[in-house]
């Protein structure tokens, strides 16, 4: 099979998949049609609701969710890289902190939501702090793993060049970069789930709050708009991350598949 025919049939399968999803959705909304309560709105109902909400609160909610996810991700990742490098290269820190993280990692960050609300109240930090935890726990493990498996020759070279502590840490971070990037990308993907669940519980603004209000008024189309916007955000974030990595670290093979 030539390359061209291959792409052609792949496109055919992709089209078939899209038709299958849309067809299945329409079929389900006809099966579960009820004049009193819209349990499964059709795709066009959801599209209309998307436009309606786009004119009112959707943009503000999306912006709030993006701020929480990205703010928490950046802070958690910086902390994760810092602590991870220390755990990987400094023995006393490793002895003390790794068991603590081993324990804390078993309590999922999402289980912290009620405590975060008690500590920070309902607002930005009760949600962003959950994303900080998600990113920290992921990135710290990958960073420590990457840093502790540095080529011994590299460390010796650094010693014989009498590098300062800061320079040695820089060498450690850069040679652990492939592992760190895998952790960063995973954390970015997990952040959206954390944001939506935190907003559902501590609902004032955000996509989760939008869905929550939709649920309270039995507006299933509004919930579905939230689900779709969140999926689009997750997709866009992943896309941007992979592109940015390719531009910044073109020699790193990790995360190549989208």
């Amino acid at each position: 099979m030539t390359a061209r025919a291959e792409t052609g049939s792949l496109l055919g399968y992709r089209l078939a998949a899209i038709l299958f999803i849309l067809g299945g959705w329409v079929l389900l909304s006809w099966i579960f049609y009820s004049p009193r309560l819209e349990l499964m709105p059709t795709p066009w109902r959801v599209a209309v609701r998307l436009v309606e909400l786009g004119r009112t609160e959707l943009l503000a909610d999306t912006w709030a969710s993006v701020q929480e996810a990205l703010g928490g991700w950046v802070l958690g990742s910086l902390l994760g890289i810092g602590i991870g490098v220390l755990i990987g290269r400094v023995e006393p820190v490793r002895l003390l902190l790794r068991p603590v993280l081993d324990f804390l990692r078993f309590i999922s960050p999402l289980a912290w939501v009620p405590l975060a609300i008690l500590w920070f109240g309902i607002g930005y930090w009760s949600k962003a702090s959950i994303i900080v935890l998600i990113s920290l726990f992921t990135v710290v493990v990958n960073t420590a793993q990457g840093v502790s498996s540095i080529d011994a020759e590299l460390v010796k070279a650094g010693k014989s060049l009498r590098l300062t502590f800061r320079q040695r840490m820089e060498v450690a971070v850069m040679s652990a970069m492939p592992d760190i990037l895998v952790g960063l990308r995973y954390a970015l993907g997990a952040a959206w789930g954390g944001v939506v669940i935190a907003e559902l519980v501590a609902g004032d603004v955000g996509i989760g709050a939008l869905e929550s209000y939709g649920g309270q008024s039995f507006d299933v189309a509004q919930i579905m708009v939230g689900m779709l916007v969140l999926a689009a955000l997750g997709y866009a974030a992943n896309w941007c991350f992979v592109r940015a990595q390719r531009a910044l670290f073109p020699w790193i093979v990790a995360n190549r598949e989208t």
Binding site: P99, V100, F103, L110, L228
Partner: protein, 261 residues
């Protein structure tokens, strides 16, 4: 320093987590005692222990754990069985893989947590909605890992097996399954952790029982001691579950080594 390290538990395991718990307990106790924190912000460890005992004795803790585990069991079972079947089918048929890949890629971004309000509208406060969330969360993890594990088998092994006259169920059970099992079990280990998180998250809204319901309810009543007690229980159950799957992996695939971090 490295002499001390020799006596310490290997990282990533239950023993290391226990040591971490002890360190954390010391820090927590010290903070609560030194700064005299208000119980609503940070209750002291004895207060948390008392409320844990209280809940255990009254039987409410047992009931919450049972509810959560029942949801986990059915969701995990349904999601895993469907995921295994899909993964195996995708690995066998290229046409099916080309058709299902874009669907899986699309639904990967439709998060299980984002459909919780929808399921509350559909199924009310019953456990059906929670089972749906858990099954949905497991399904993709298991399907993707199973497909990768089976299609990642070294083709030389399959060729060699065929050449010595291996076929049918013999090929499946003696060659394909042992070769793919480590990858499949890795998927299951990730799936069980994800499933447990999904149970807790799904119980946050529109639930009447379960550990997730218990801690949000305690938070609404400003009972921080109960919240922390619940978090510890969630962590311990999660630890036991992931250790159980790790044990299963070691027992069924002793030829596969695993590493900590």
């Amino acid at each position: 320093m490295s002499r001390i390290a020799r006596y310490l538990p290997s990282p990533g395991g239950a023993a290391s987590a226990l040591l971490g718990f002890i360190i954390l307990l010391a820090v927590w106790w010290g903070t609560a005692a030194m700064f005299q924190t208000r119980p609503v912000i940070l209750p002291s460890p004895p207060a948390v222990w008392r409320s844990l005992l209280e809940m255990a004795v009254s039987g409410s803790l047992g009931a919450d754990i049972t509810t959560s585990l029942v949801e986990l069991f059915w969701g995990f079972l349904i999601g895993t069985v469907l995921g295994l079947m899909t993964g195996a089918a995708v690995a066998r048929s290229r046409a099916l893989a080309a058709f299902l890949d874009p669907i899986v890629d699309g639904f990967r971004f439709v998060l299980p947590f984002s459909m919780v309000p929808l399921l509350v509208v559909w199924f009310g406060v019953s456990i059906t909605g929670k089972i749906f969330v858990v099954a949905y969360a497991c399904y993709f993890v298991v399907a993707v890992n199973t497909a990768a594990a089976i299609s990642g088998i070294d083709p030389l092994i399959l060729k060699a097996a065929r050449m010595i006259g291996c076929s049918g169920s013999h090929l499946l059970f003696r060659v394909v399954l042992p070769a793919a099992l480590p990858g499949i079990l890795t998927g299951l280990q990730v799936a069980v952790a994800y499933a447990w998180v999904s149970v807790i998250a799904a119980e946050y809204i529109g639930a009447q029982a379960g550990l997730g319901y218990m801690i949000t309810n305690a938070q609404a009543g400003l009972e921080t001691d109960k919240v922390i007690a619940g978090m510890v229980v969630i962590g311990v159950v999660g630890l036991v579950l992931s250790q159980a799957v790790a044990l299963l992996r070691r027992a069924t695939t002793p030829y596969q080594s695993s590493t900590g971090w």
